[in-house]
Symmetry: C2
Subunit: 114 residues, 2 copies
């Protein structure tokens, strides 16, 4: 797969407001926030879309969810609540072809989810 | 935690349009669909919210994502695309306190995601 913006963020070649980093996952604020809190959690391993998630990557997908929940606790909005979203391809509205879990919080999220 | 509707669906005590089942995960259509395709993927193990996901449950969270992607492939809308969403507590708009990953497809999803 071709390299994306996110690989450059992982390597600190372009700046980002990083809020979480561990061995497997990086979390940083979305530059076009859609809620008072809007963070992206990405695997350091480049996976283009959720369609490309292999069986061996399932734990990694779960790590994104857990990183989002841990961030919510750390920031104190876990009880108020939040939404996590992942977009795949055109109909999903995927913008960068490196999977990313959106975490949105700080306001009442509405339904449908887009 | 108290039992929810979803436990009854897992035990087949109330009907649901089930589209996926394996050892860990059940997938069934949302009764109030927000897109031409709207399926919920739930762990058979009851976990109330994403806040309650323990470290040992990370793989299970990943299984929900993988089950959604596999369903997209099986149904042939993986390339067109789809969105997955999980809501937590009030601000997220969580309705049933047994975690569920919404899969929405069959139309262009919009931004913001609610």
């Amino acid at each position: 797969m071709s390299e994306t913006l996110f690989d450059k963020i992982i390597r600190r070649e372009i700046p980002a407001d990083i809020v979480h980093e561990d061995e497997h996952v990086l979390g940083f604020r979305d530059i076009n926030p859609q809620a008072p809190v809007h963070v992206l959690f990405i695997p350091k391993k480049p996976i283009a879309t959720l369609n490309d998630l292999e069986h061996a990557d399932m734990l990694l997908a779960g790590r994104l969810m857990k990183a989002a929940a841990d961030f919510a606790k750390r920031e104190g909005f876990d009880e108020a609540g939040y939404r996590v979203v992942m977009n795949t391809n055109r109909d999903g509205g995927q913008s960068v072809y490196h999977i990313h879990l959106h975490l949105l919080a700080g306001r009442q999220m509405t339904w449908p989810p887009g």
